[in-house]
Symmetry: C2
Subunit: 505 residues, 2 copies
């Protein structure tokens, strides 16, 4: 077959898989947003049917043969086409390394452990989960060995979420973060001990309908395109891409504006990335997000770096006052302080922008030890407490507020957590680079002029899809290899702001 | 293969098809309700992909072989299982009669004619559409001949919508309707000429949010189960079943309460039927609606027979007054008159309960002549005007208000229209039979006691699925073969009501 014909055939196969995957995501989105409670049974069947159909299509012998054939003819393809073949080949080779029996066994282990986790968390009974975790760890080691027996198994697992990431690089970046945060956290503790936080103006009476309109305004203002997107409500916020539209969700708490606003900005950051991918390459690797870490950099850039800045609230306050009588007398300073409360705490998802990274480092160090065989799952609860004390100076009274708080490990996801802090690292580095090229970001934000920054992110990050791996993407966008220093500088400024803002400090 | 094993295998195949079909309907529902405008392109791709996957699964050689094999062993199956095999076989035999080239050609003709129809209607240019209609008619004749060359081709087409319906029976029923309506329509014309209708209290100021809550109340009151259903908004009302949930849509016009209320009651009637099908046979013929005519009988029973009755408004008025200040002074009599305005008119979808059936008879007579070769498509515009004058005494000034008003023929649907009047016929007959068994329906309605009637419909109609064909279902449920007399009695009472209600009459 002619190379160009074969490539066109590959595109057809991949786009068909993408159409099915988008449909599957619609089934899932609808389940979280609009599905009547009594229809869960048939929805589970529909999701199962589509997942099986997607698997059949994405592992069709004709597709595998095409990818293998084209991978031998990369020099006959133009560079963009070669990206689609290279990334398809990389993905397929990983999948083919696992035989069907292993995949089935892994899926069963995970499904089983997930439901045990719900029970264990409910009963605060880690011992119930421990043997399942032990099996999941053994399984992930087998998976890593099957994919590439010559490398550290944890590095192989990392690549499920962050293709091309080297363990040495991750260790170095997280090591910088760990070292840099220790004095910052000590400073935060000292500050907070002397000066408790004042009441937050964002806790009060915030009509849900008004929050809905306000969030749509805030999200549209940073550039989210509602002609190709929506916001709806679900128990847990998420974003998903269903073909050429991107759907965000949030939850409205009429006593608290913080939650819906910052979860919306976070999900909108993911959505802006998806909306910025090359539309003419939808369904192909070139039109697909680079990695979870890069995805997270976009959500955290808008949520934290932009959304929690003084400049952001300067431009938002008029609209916020117009929407909510409760904010009539609130000052920018008070609002900025309210959304930047820092303090060591037990729960990752409720922690602040600074200490959050220590929650991740804790998980990274523990899961590495698990996969490396240096820690047994049975000892995880104790190890967790010890590391919490070491990193954050607090220890949970029970496992529900400790090792049982996250589902990731019970879902078999080892190597996932680091992408959250990688996202923070990339976000800060990208924003420093953007400032060098487009000027003072705060000034743009204060003027409500978000399009310049979004345009820069589109050009430097979004439009590349999987053309570049994350390390290369970041280096090309910022002129430097990924480094924790911009994040640390950003967090130091935040702590300075805290020191100035806390009354009497 | 053991017969029971083969049957279990058939169930598996059919349920898989049903899961895919439900997913396809979710894609379509979402397109009409929540899809952002800029995502139409990828939605069209997803719908195309799922339709193709559904076709592949529903014509899989393994499935066809199973059905053929089981059809030879009906006596080894229990009666319920035999229904699933019998109806699957009937459906598959019809599909297999058409070769792939014919199916493709037909789909292309239809798609093409539909877009020409949009243009023709916009330009009021029937001549543009006529040659396409000619081709569609020829195609449907070929289809009918391929399915069964020994029968009247129009009867074969009818069965696409109403399996088992005999043309002679339909002619007899519609003949009764035609004859019975002539004096009624003359009476209506005489009444209306002397006494114009007063202003409707349902035209005024009706907040869309209040309409939404009011409609949900009205629909829940008649028994629609919101734990397995929803109401949303779309440009055109419809109902659809997505696995075990049923979704209705309507449209809220803040100047007019009639539209949303009666379209909701209509769609809820369809929804109640779907919710009443045997849940343990979902995806199988036993758990699938009997025919379009029976489906329409359920929507029209609740919309017209119940929803436009005096008793219905007696029970609804307190809630209506509480919801809408505009109805503070409205009387039941005025409301009933407002929702029973009768008068010959040009547009089928805007016509009243009585004259509606003449719009259908007109279409039936014309499409029968087209398929029978007694009328050329080119002559349809003139034939339409002539028959409008004959049946309704009005003639359209242009084809937009005449032959171009409906999409059905341009979509290749010949034999569909009669199911609307069959629905009216069945509805009236079912309600008379219900009254004989459960007592005065008006009394139950007046008390808001809808569950007894719904229970009767569940037992006599819903739960049977495709166990019985429509003719047998109606005869068993009512004790008599389908007849137009109950409908004519119902409409006579309506006209009497009109005669009493029109001021000064």
């Amino acid at each position: 077959m002619n190379t160009q014909t074969a490539y066109a055939d590959l595109v057809h196969h991949l786009q068909r898989c993408s159409d099915i995957a988008g449909t599957l995501r619609l089934l899932e989105w609808d389940q979280e947003t609009y599905l009547p409670a009594g229809a869960m049974d048939s929805r589970a069947r529909q999701i199962g049917a589509l997942a099986e159909i997607l698997h059949t299509h994405s592992t069709a012998p004709a597709l595998l043969a095409l990818v293998d054939e084209l991978a031998n003819r990369l020099d006959e393809l133009d560079p963009e086409q070669a990206v689609d073949v290279r990334e398809s080949k990389w993905q397929l080779d990983r999948e083919r390394a696992l035989d069907a029996a292993l995949v089935r066994e892994r899926a069963e282990l995970r499904a089983n452990a997930r439901s045990v986790w719900i029970q264990a968390r409910h009963d605060d009974d880690f011992a119930l989960l421990a043997p399942h975790l032990e099996q999941l760890v053994a399984m992930e080691r087998r998976v890593a060995t099957a994919i590439d027996a010559s490398r550290d198994p944890y590095e192989v697992l990392l690549e499920s979420y962050e293709p091309g990431l080297r363990l040495a690089h991750l260790e170095s970046v997280l090591g910088e973060v760990r070292a840099g945060l220790q004095p910052l956290v000590a400073r935060i503790c000292a500050l907070v001990e002397r000066h408790p936080y004042p009441a937050s103006p964002l806790i009060g009476d915030f009509d849900a309908g008004a929050q809905r309109r306000f969030n749509e305004h805030a999200v549209a203002a940073i550039g989210f395109d509602f002609s190709r997107g929506r916001i709806d409500e679900s128990a847990h916020p998420f974003s998903t891409t269903i073909g050429s539209d991107v759907r965000l969700t949030t939850r409205y708490d009429p006593r608290d504006l913080t939650y819906s606003l910052y979860s919306s900005l976070h999900e909108a950051g993911h959505g802006l990335y998806e909306q910025g991918l090359a539309a003419d390459a939808r369904g192909l690797p070139r039109g697909t997000a680079c990695s979870l870490g890069v995805h997270e950099s976009q959500s955290r850039l808008w949520e934290n770096q932009i959304g929690r800045s003084h400049a952001y609230w300067e431009q938002l306050l008029p609209a916020a006052r117009a929407a909510f009588p409760a904010l009539a007398a609130a000052s920018v300073d008070a609002l900025v302080l309210a959304v930047n409360r820092m303090e060591p705490s037990l729960i990752r998802t409720e922690s602040d922008e600074t200490t959050y990274n220590l929650h991740i480092i804790l998980r990274f160090e523990l899961e590495r030890a698990l996969i490396g065989g240096d820690l047994r799952a049975a000892d995880l609860s104790g190890a967790w407490r010890e590391k919490m004390r070491e990193l954050l100076g607090v220890t949970p009274a029970d496992d529900r507020h400790g090792v049982l708080q996250d589902v990731h490990w019970a879902a078999g996801e080892f190597g996932y957590f680091p992408t959250y802090t990688l996202g923070n690292v990339y976000a800060a580095q990208l924003l420093e680079a953007a400032a060098r090229e487009i000027g003072d970001i705060d000034e743009l934000v204060r003027a409500g002029e978000f399009a310049t920054l979004l345009g820069w992110l589109r050009a430097k990050v979004h439009r590349w899809g999987q053309t570049l791996r994350a390390a290369e993407l970041i280096e090309r966008a910022t002129g430097e290899p990924a480094s924790a220093q911009p994040l640390l500088r950003h967090l130091e400024r935040k702590v300075e702001l805290l020191a100035r803002a806390l009354p009497g400090a």
